[in-house]
């Protein structure tokens, strides 16, 4: 009698537990789907506001894809201008070329500064530094990630710009190099953290094998550990690139925001993200200008998406190749 009651109790307890387990699992699953749905919805919203640039006849009176990307004959006959961003004008001009070029210039400077220094710092902390030094460097570099970009932007605007101008004698005090260096500071912790994780994940046995063959510490780090961790390091660089393309506050404050079409890095630049930040608050709802700004948003979104996708694909390929070599 009593054992029967006990069994029932056990069964019901087990059933309740299973029920609870199921509930928790579904709840977590719902959260995961929610995150994906949110991203999809954001993209749908941005794209919906952007599509009139492609299809609406009313918008086409002012701006077409041709005007966004191809050379136009603006300016005076003596001083023709092919690419102009002047959305508030008697004849609005919406060439995206100066903005794309500006984004590219700043991002290049940032990556040239951040990628080598962050990767070398990661190699140093994992392979050479003594444990206590490692414990000191790691949190400090990661602290860089915690600095709000407004603060970095302000620092670049007030201190860095004067310093760089004194050093290189730039015409423009606020320019692509200045914004790029400040952005590099924001990107370093991203590349560093991911590279450092990848290097740490390389099995001890690799290093031991290298030492057994008579390799020095430097040779081990450079020829064995770094190649093995390369996929992770590469992922860090790609993610850093994505962050740099989308970064807004630093470029808004430190780049001068002049939409100039040139490859001169000493000139002021206007980036895609800074243009959205500076102009969206004011623009007339539903106007061609408004739709073009959302078009830029879609462009940025797609760019970072493709970058991340490409990055992870390359990482996968590299890893497969490395594993093949290992076997």
């Amino acid at each position: 009698m009593s054992t029967g009651a006990q069994t029932i109790r056990f069964v019901s307890r087990a059933a309740r537990r299973r029920w609870r387990e199921w509930l928790i699992e579904k709840f977590i699953c719902l959260n995961a789907i929610g995150a994906i749905a949110l991203i999809v919805l954001i993209f749908v919203f941005v794209a919906r506001e952007a599509y009139p640039v492609l299809l609406s006849a009313a918008v086409h009176e002012e701006v077409t894809l041709e005007k966004l990307f191809l050379a136009q004959s603006y300016g005076t006959p003596e001083a023709p201008l092919a690419y102009v961003w002047q959305p508030v004008s008697a004849v609005p001009k919406y060439s995206l070329m100066p903005l794309l070029l500006g984004t590219l210039k700043v991002t290049l400077v940032a990556m040239l500064l951040a990628a080598p220094s962050a990767i070398l710092a990661a190699i140093y902390t994992t392979e050479f530094a003594s444990p206590w030094l490692r414990e000191a460097i790691k949190p400090v570099v990661e602290l860089l990630a915690g600095i709000p970009s407004v603060v970095l932007g302000f620092f670049a605007l007030v201190v860095l710009a004067s310093w760089l101008q004194g050093l290189f004698d730039f015409d423009f005090r606020l320019n692509a190099v200045n914004a790029g260096v400040a952005m590099g500071l924001a990107v370093i912790p991203i590349i560093y953290t991911i590279s450092e994780d990848a290097l740490t994940a390389v099995p001890r046995s690799y290093r031991n094998a290298a030492y057994a063959l008579g390799a020095s510490r430097g040779q081990t780090a450079w020829r064995v550990v770094l190649p093995a961790a390369l996929p992770g390091v590469f992922a860090g660089v790609v993610l850093g690139f994505g962050r740099a393309v989308g970064e807004t506050m630093i470029v808004l404050m430190a780049s001068g925001n002049a939409a100039i079409t040139s490859w001169n890095f000493a000139e002021s630049v206007r980036t895609l993200s800074a243009t959205i930040a500076a102009e969206l608050a004011e623009v007339v709802f539903g106007s061609p200008h408004y739709h073009v700004l959302f078009f830029i948003g879609t462009l940025l979104f797609t760019m970072t998406f493709v970058l991340n996708w490409l990055g992870s694909r390359m990482v996968g390929n590299l890893r497969r190749r490395l594993n093949g070599v290992d076997r």
């Binding site: 001083a79 201008l81 102009v84 961003w85 002047q86 959305p87 508030v88 004008s89 008697a90 001009k93 100066p98 004067s162 015409d171 423009f172 005090r173 606020l174 808004l252 404050m253 001068g256 925001n257 002049a258 939409a259 100039i260 079409t261 000139e267 002021s268 206007r270 500076a278 102009e279 608050a281 004011e282 623009v283 007339v284 709802f285």
Partner: protein, 299 residues
């Protein structure tokens, strides 16, 4: 638990939306040029009239006007006249005619670095400089150096005013660096011996104001109070307040005070220019027109 939290939140939201009505709140939003002026007015008026709360925020003339059209502000501050299309939008959305009142006078100063030997420019020269026709200070009597242009973002009333009145609606040259506020322009010019910028006279500290000539033959005029008020200085403008319909109650009282001798004294302290007496009388008449109409109707 969740439900209770939700109800609590709802009550809080409801309370937050009801409270300001009891506290007699006035919101003022718009031109970045006018933020300091609006805040000084609000401070002095709130000291005299406890129980009224006035919130002043910036964002640009266009932002303030958009807020007025959408009904999220009581007063829109603007450093440019409202466009006809915006007035029509406001009428369509709010169902009331927009009331426009000038509240102060501002001159746009042209700044250069204090070490720059150039002291005066004509409007034509300014236009040539900002549209890329003149690129070296030598061509306007300065040193043999490149001219670096500083401008404002295209959401500012200052940008539009300069574009209309100095550039005659031509486009700024692409190398013009756009900065987020007059203070930023002054800061940039103060650090750049080759730079030129423009903005409100009130902000002019640590740099040199140029004297401006209407054309090559007229004498250069300094942006001083008498010259701006007498309209001898060629780049001056009115600063406006906009309302949806005739203001009433506290809003009317506050506006009336701003247009009084006392309110206009604040204008001078902040560094702008008070309205000429004739304009002030007209503005007061416009403000009171609604009152007398209502009084007549109730009689």
């Amino acid at each position: 638990m969740k439900k209770r939290a939700l109800v609590f939140l709802l009550v809080l939201l409801l309370g937050a939306s009801l409270l300001p009505a009891q506290q007699r709140n006035i919101t003022v939003k718009g031109s970045d040029t006018m933020v300091i002026l609006g805040q000084r007015w609000a401070e002095v008026y709130m000291q005299k009239n406890p129980g009224i709360s006035i919130q002043v925020t910036g964002g640009g003339s266009g932002t303030g006007i958009a807020a007025l059209i959408n009904g999220t502000t009581d007063i829109a501050e603007s450093s440019r006249p409202m466009k006809e299309k915006e007035k029509a939008d406001a009428k369509a959305k709010r169902g009331k005619d927009v009331l426009e009142l000038p509240v102060a006078v501002d001159g746009l100063a042209v700044y250069v670095h204090e070490m720059n030997p150039v002291n005066e420019l004509s409007l034509q020269q300014l236009k040539a400089i900002y549209t890329g026709g003149v690129k070296n200070w030598k061509e306007v009597g300065g040193r043999d150096e490149r001219i670096l242009l500083y401008s404002r973002e295209n959401n500012s009333g200052t940008y539009l005013y300069f574009k209309e009145h100095v550039l005659e609606n031509a486009d700024f040259y692409p190398t013009a660096q756009t900065l987020p506020g007059t203070a930023a322009v002054i800061n940039a010019v103060a650090r750049d011996p080759r730079g030129i910028g423009y903005g409100g006279i009130a902000y002019g500290k640590g740099i040199k104001h140029l004297c401006v000539k209407s054309d090559a033959t007229t004498p250069a005029v300094e942006p001083s109070m008498e010259n701006v008020l007498s309209a001898r200085y060629p780049i001056s403008r009115y600063l406006y307040w906009y309302f949806a319909g005739q203001p009433a109650g506290d809003l009317r009282a506050f506006t009336g005070w701003v247009l009084s001798q006392e309110g206009q004294a604040v204008v001078e302290k902040v560094g702008y220019y008070p309205l000429p007496d004739r304009v002030r009388a007209e503005a007061l008449a416009k403000l009171n027109a609604g009152e007398s109409r209502k009084a007549r109707a109730s009689r």
